[in-house]
Symmetry: C2
Subunit: 338 residues, 2 copies
């Protein structure tokens, strides 16, 4: 019976999240009962949505309970099985949480999925060909509904969602402009991810300066915007929106630390007859199959080459997560557990 190291939420952040909000513990993995599977995690996914779960206040999902294993997506392999559909050695994707092993009730619909690693590396199932990729797909295809020749903009451009968004939008004949933090990320966005241009928001002190850079990068204006960040970046994009632009509102990372961030000029939504929609991908699982098929194909064809930042060992998860919230990662943030 292997020992399982876990990261629990020990206490809630006051303002910024800190490492002492978490606690690492060791427990024995329990014996399996009928229908259960023991999964050894190879990778844990770290994602901005987790910060929202750490708060007690109403967020876009249930709060993470104190004293329990932090929620999170995982990929790994089956090491013990009491379920006829899963064999030892199967590679699987699930929501195992911040721990080295998880016991999964494999009869629960959607609790576990097998991962085909013929053309797609296992870790990608946590990023470009996983929840973040499907998030990009849903926002682009179902909310923004891009037309060929239109201009799409995405913030957090080199993250897992942004990387997938760029490949999906290019495949639809759009001009795609990213917004990211720092010259290295911007260069990578254009060289490796297929962006037509990428703007370093750190070079801009206010929304007017950023908006001017957007005007140069988007000479025909902005038709679709995938929002991962909120705040000043969103305000700047709104100044360049075309009539009938669409906004997929997926994240507001800049406002997670307590104080809500205002939107400077909501009247622009009326002036430009914008359609804006907030969404959580887990409420739209009906698109999963179609989205995963396209994302897997883009990876296999070399048109989606996401980058990963990998930290080693379960005890590194809290610091890696805090770094993610500050934009220190480059591409999908993972924790390697083997």
């Amino acid at each position: 019976m292997p020992t399982n190291r876990q990261v629990l939420l020990d206490n809630r952040p006051e303002g910024e999240a800190v490492a002492s909000n978490f606690k690492v513990v060791s427990v024995d993995t329990p014996a399996l009962t009928e229908g259960q599977v023991l999964v050894r995690h190879h990778y844990l996914s770290l994602d901005p949505y987790m910060r929202g779960r750490m708060n007690e206040s109403k967020s876009y999902a249930a709060s993470q309970p104190l004293g329990e294993v932090m929620i999170g997506g995982t990929v790994g392999e089956v090491v013990e099985s009491q379920h006829p559909k899963y064999q030892v050695g199967d590679q699987v994707v699930g929501m195992g949480g911040w721990q080295e092993y998880s016991v999964v009730n494999a009869n629960e619909p959607g609790a576990l999925r097998k991962a085909d690693t013929t053309h797609v590396p296992l870790s990608y199932y946590l990023g470009a060909v996983g929840m973040p990729g499907v998030t990009a797909w849903y926002g682009l295809v179902k909310i923004i509904e891009p037309k060929e020749g239109e201009t799409m903009v995405v913030s957090a451009a080199t993250g897992a969602v942004g990387s997938a968004f760029a490949a999906l939008a290019k495949a639809r004949g759009c001009r795609v402009v990213g917004i990211a933090g720092g010259p290295e990320k911007c260069a990578y966005a254009v060289a490796e991810l297929g962006y037509d241009a990428c703007i370093d928001y750190r070079e801009h002190k206010d929304m007017y300066s950023l908006s001017k850079a957007l005007k140069e990068a988007c000479p025909k204006g902005i038709d679709g915007y995938f929002e991962n960040v909120g705040g000043m970046i969103m305000d700047a994009v709104m100044l360049r929106m075309n009539a009938f632009a669409r906004v997929a509102l997926c994240g507001m990372i800049a406002g997670y630390n307590g104080e809500p961030l205002a939107m400077a000029n909501p009247a622009l939504l009326l002036i430009n007859r914008v359609k804006l929609e907030g969404f959580i991908v887990s409420e739209h699982m009906e698109v999963w199959g179609e989205a995963m098929k396209e994302l897997g194909t883009l990876v296999a064809m070399g048109k989606l080459k996401p980058r990963e930042t990998v930290s080693q060992g379960i005890e590194s998860a809290p610091e890696a997560f805090l770094g993610l919230l500050k934009g220190k990662n480059f591409g999908k943030q993972l924790v390697k557990l083997i």
Copy 2:
């Protein structure tokens, strides 16, 4: 050849609009050419959107040119005709502007519509059974898409749009809660317009106080919101929105005087997966027939009893318009010209 008094936009407002932005002039009505019709206006419609047109800045429609007759909807009768489809005495609806007469090219599609006054008073074609009514219809039916039993909220509740919105939403089995300025308007909203409740925003100093009143009036939360105002009222409504709420964004009157009004907490749009859409009814004329039929029927059945505030004479138009912007009118603001 009758003399025609006109109100021109003489200069653009700096900040608040004032009477001296306008100028009244007298001109002769010209002789008609083939296809033209001379309409004597009975009523001129005054509407908040006109304030946007007075600015030079990008607004949700073209600027009103200086030195020209202010744009505006009118109802009246044909007094001279060079068009076979229109006879002297026909009652018509058009966009005649702030003047006593207009010469209309009746061949232009949509320039003139005949008004059936059997069951609907002529002036209603500028309000409940006109552009404002169709505006309410589009926002409710096409954007909010209400379900029976849901709770709808509308700001500027006793105005032309709000009055129609309430009747249309009640006809769909919704709870309808209005927001208006002053106890008289609120009492009228409940007694005459069919609102289940109406909140006087003047009794509330901030969004938290108003939001508390909304909680009482909307015990099941808010599923649909028709926004005519913006600012603090919208912020308060957003605090009470249910998951998957829809917002039809039609007006931001509070922000017209230059400085944009911020939205306090746009993250709520994500948290509650809200769909928000800005619109201008004139871009959706395909719904006109269906909307007008329902609105006319509601009036004929006594289920839509809009109130009107009528000022007398073309020279009263500027002051009546400035009063409208301050909420001094009660129901649809008209200028009677005969």
